[in-house]
Subunit: 381 residues, 4 copies
């Protein structure tokens, strides 16, 4: 497979998210980093781009310049990643899709369901890829979980319990820390904080693994740290399209949890559980039998889980390996398209704008439910 050209918008100096995209895209050598508009400050954007090895004329000062500069080049970028503040995702994604670029957008895809709907339509019309960075779906044992659930190894799915709880916003003394403050300010963060930021990953995990959409929900939000306007802890109860019951807990004040993204799926003939902090194992309990510990790399895993894995069982693969798997999948999809092959939707397992939109639909209804005494509300898909 040939190496593709890749550009990055956002992810300036010191940014964690920029670093992870650069590492993940380079990891399997599918993408070569050739263009970027890395900072809101034009000068810093250019300087930092050049320090990272970009050519002078492709270290752009703004995403608009980058769009202009790239769209007419013969060697233009094949994929652009958008890692800017949430409120700008819609505009930039729209612009690049409409100008013929494939896009990888950070989550959340947009700020509103209405915007997300537009992106879904544009991606469909243009035929361009619009991936959304639910990077945790790239873990091999998550892919294995999805395979086991969707191939019927657990029987009919009764219940999904997922959570994303951390404790990094527990310190009340952090109230004025600029890294945190905006997250609880409705003017900057929108109507939801921790649910939009973290819970959304656990929601997407539930839909990704089961292959079902969420059809209705009831939510309870709490602002546990004094002075916060938005929720720092939330619970959502829901029902899925095929009747599965769902429960989601997300928290930013769960001291002792580092990055507690977990999922448990309970079926009529078996159950599985997985935790992001120990991602190389998947626990599988067949009905009336002992729990088994499935290890990443075991020969008995499904094809997709094995091919998403680089090293032998017992070594750990981590988040960057998982994240890199999304880039590998996107590279594969671009490659198919270049070769004139139609992209078979069933073989693209990376999250797309459709998933991005569904998450936002859910958050919007959860906000309404939480404001209305946990009333059950339908989620339109």
């Amino acid at each position: 497979m040939k190496q593709f050209k890749w550009g990055l918008i956002g992810g300036g100096e010191g940014s964690q998210i920029g670093l992870t995209h650069r590492v993940a895209s380079a990891h399997d050598r599918h993408f070569d980093f050739v263009a970027g508009a890395l900072d809101i400050d034009a000068n810093q954007a250019k300087q930092y781009g050049m320090r990272l090895g970009l050519d002078h004329d492709r270290a752009y000062g703004s995403w608009q310049d980058m769009l202009e500069g790239e769209k007419n080049r013969a060697d233009k970028i094949d994929l652009v990643t958008i890692a800017t503040p949430n409120s700008t995702h819609f505009e930039i994604t729209k612009a690049f899709l409409e100008n013929g670029f494939h896009v990888m957008c950070e989550k959340p895809l947009t700020m509103t369901s209405e915007q997300a709907k537009q992106i879904v339509e544009i991606a469909k019309e243009t035929g361009n890829i619009c991936a959304v960075n639910y990077g945790y779906t790239g873990y091999p044992m998550v892919i294995q979980a999805r395979h086991m659930v969707q191939s019927g190894q657990l029987g009919k799915i009764r219940l999904v319990v997922s959570e994303f709880a951390h404790g990094h916003h527990s310190d009340a003394a952090d109230a004025d820390n600029p890294r945190l403050r905006w997250r609880y300010d409705p003017k900057l963060a929108g109507d939801s904080s921790i649910l939009m930021d973290c819970g959304i990953h656990a929601l997407n995990m539930a839909t990704f693994v089961t292959g079902q959409e969420i059809s209705k929900l009831s939510a309870d939000f709490a602002s546990c740290v004094e002075g916060r306007e938005l929720e720092d802890d939330a619970m959502i109860n829901y029902r899925m399209s095929k009747g599965t019951v769902g429960r989601l807990w997300t928290s930013a004040i769960a001291l002792g949890h580092q990055h507690g993204l977990t999922i448990k799926v309970f079926g009529e003939s078996g159950a599985i559980r997985w935790a992001q902090e120990q991602p190389n194992q998947l626990y599988f309990t067949p009905l009336n039998q002992p729990t088994q510990i499935l290890e990443r790399g075991m020969a008995s895993l499904c094809e997709n889980a094995l091919s998403a894995s680089r090293i032998t069982a017992g070594h750990s693969e981590g988040f960057l390996d998982a994240f890199a798997n999304l880039y590998s999948q996107i590279a594969r999809a671009i490659s198919h398209q270049h070769e004139g092959q139609k992209i078979d939707p069933s073989e693209i397992w990376f999250p797309t704008a459709v998933d991005g939109k569904h998450s936002i639909d859910i958050v919007e209804q959860a906000v309404k439910s939480a404001r209305n005494g946990s009333q059950w509300l339908v989620v339109n898909s």
Copy 2:
């Protein structure tokens, strides 16, 4: 401390619950088993009692006979344990309390909040002890958790998350298993199944550890196995008397969970978590510091946790040791009473009728909320 005389009602041959009460009461040699009405069948009750070593005249055929037989003896029992079907708890507990006996009643204390209220009043009027068997509160590390929370080591408590999830009712083929069937039949089990059976322990754990009552709640019930009329999975969101947010998950279809009673308490300056399946450790995360593993038996634990512990750190103590701690506490309370000392309520940490009533109040409101679209309802205390 002198050894007290103990009687048991219910807990017939093959009964798990009878066995655990006999072991727990004998464990520290505080109680001597001298009287019983062990079976609904009078003959079997007598035979089995004698096989367990009871004297001929104290192996009773019914609880009524036992009450008559014991109440006029000089060497009458000091404590009676009631381990009969739930629907009989009220009547028997009432009768024994009114006739001057101390009672240890299995949970749930009664079938209705109204009955529970009567028991609370009778216990208060008579001055007799009415303990309720929330046996998991007897674990030393639960006592330590309670101490840390209530002495302020975690600061103001923001959030409590407790659960009791098991998978032992997952097999749909068990529908006609008599051991299970009654649990999902409203005529026999009342309005709630898994919440009343298991979730109630996790609720009590939350109130026990925090020292707060639940003041309002919103519930979502699901019957995941086809054909069940009552819930086999439930989620309750609640608020406590001092403003703490609470979340409770209970399930009977959570394959892979054996007996998953856990509690996590998140405060403004620290958090703790504990799991019944590994009861000898308590995880403590002080704000901005690494998580610590506190071990049962460590010299730095609180007085009550240490005295509830029999063997050195690193050995495991199990459920029967925990349960026996309730009997030790009751023995201590009886002993104080015998010595004419007033029982200081602050030093009795075993659950009483007040706790039993509160649990039932909660379940009643949860049933109503679940039937009314997860509406938030006040819980009267």
Copy 3:
């Protein structure tokens, strides 16, 4: 089964070991505590005995008085437990066996192999039971492990790795702590410290589970804390009677280990591992298959493991339950003897003088090997 009469020698006030024997013998109500010589000080022995509820004439001032007092009574004790300092085990055990009593002796059975040999012979000649308190063998999942190994479920056994490492002797400032000092003084402790004290349990675990004896060994001893004459850390490599390779690590300075008794058995078609600090699970890895987590109480376990278990899976059973299983087994053996049945050696799984002697043989050769450059030495059985 009738309740037997039980006496205790040693285990004075404040003694951990006395408490555990009293709880374990009472746990299943097989033994009634009726006689004791609980302290080296005659007066304290009597006072403490009476405080524990013994009759005036059976609260003895010395073991010699107790032997005299009991041997001619019609209602004499059925079993005596010896929980005195190690150097007195031989003399007292010998005296009680020769006078017709069944004995439960604390480990180590004696100070020398020669003494142990005498005890084995006396027990054989008199037909009296001489149990030795390797109490960890009573855990249900250890019994299950033994069953799986000895019934061939792991195929030919290649390797056994067991350890008993704790860190409770790590503090150099404890040098003068009387509770520790004697343990590293050859005049009081003999030729070995941590191996005789703790390692011996891990050695016995290896022979108990495999059913093999240790035939030769090479040892390395270290005194890690300055000033200690005896070893506080040791490694033994060995070979067993059927060719199995063995490795044992024991330590008293392994900070972070509380009571780290573990065993792993590797066979040609499967392997198991078990840890005392989480005794309710047994990890089983069949060749070329995922690891399974076997839970205490699961219906698929062997008969002996199930009958050694009191409560349902998912509850924890702890050390005292395990220890109580030894007393249950002894009660069963006494009961058979009373009924004139020959005791079938195959059904007695509690450790006896033969096991006690083998452990001491091993320690004696390990001491020699360690003093001779880890030379391999034969262990006579």
Copy 4:
């Protein structure tokens, strides 16, 4: 820091080791893969090199051609990685070092101590870097462990226990599997199998973390699977240069262990433990205090551990991230050299030829000891 040019020898199509070097060197974009001699078959070497994107003239057919081709280029490679069969490491490493290249050599550095000594000398004379791939040293929490030990946070180090046990050579039916067979054939593998293959990592971990060399040892080897001439299980007891006691277990037949590289270090005032299968946590037990769980990414870690970490705490970093850290360190060292700075040995923490030689010295003495009744032998450094 500029990007350097990198070449690879060995690591042909389907090779795990080649893949990991390519990913690790690209991960942080410090090295650009520009030259290779990837297969023993010249044609396949060229074809595969071009498929991986090498230019036609730098996809070499042999390491000799590559040496010739590169040494006179202006844009020659800065670093060559040698991932060929063990018996060829010496010759190739020697040739490249002598011709002015920096080298990263797979372990073991050479087949004999004598060869290793030559490499050490050549590296010293030429001033070229000769790194050895003990890749597990690159985990951030191993770097933290090393910092804590060497900065005195555990006090004087008493004991080191490390192991590397896996079960992947357990299946006797694999005897003719070519992937395994050579490993137990002295003609191909030399005098040691599992110790040279895996145990060596655990030995290097002990010396890396403590900063001490091994000064003497006693070894016990076993060939547990019938028909094997070399050891598939080994134990080494040793003493280190500052008196620390050491114990090492390595096994290839430890079913249930996937890749069980662990290290525990016990000091007079604290202890730590780390396991490769959960590499993001380090357990730290200060004397007389509870065990703490240190998490990768915590602000309180040492500078080197933090800079070796790419993503926030709670995400997992895996083996490839760790391995990439070695390449980052090498890039840093090359960079310093290019800038005419002397490389400060204290700041190069990646393993070099000196470490490679020490490991081989140890294995040679362990083989002799195992053949001579576990006799204690001095290791010359």
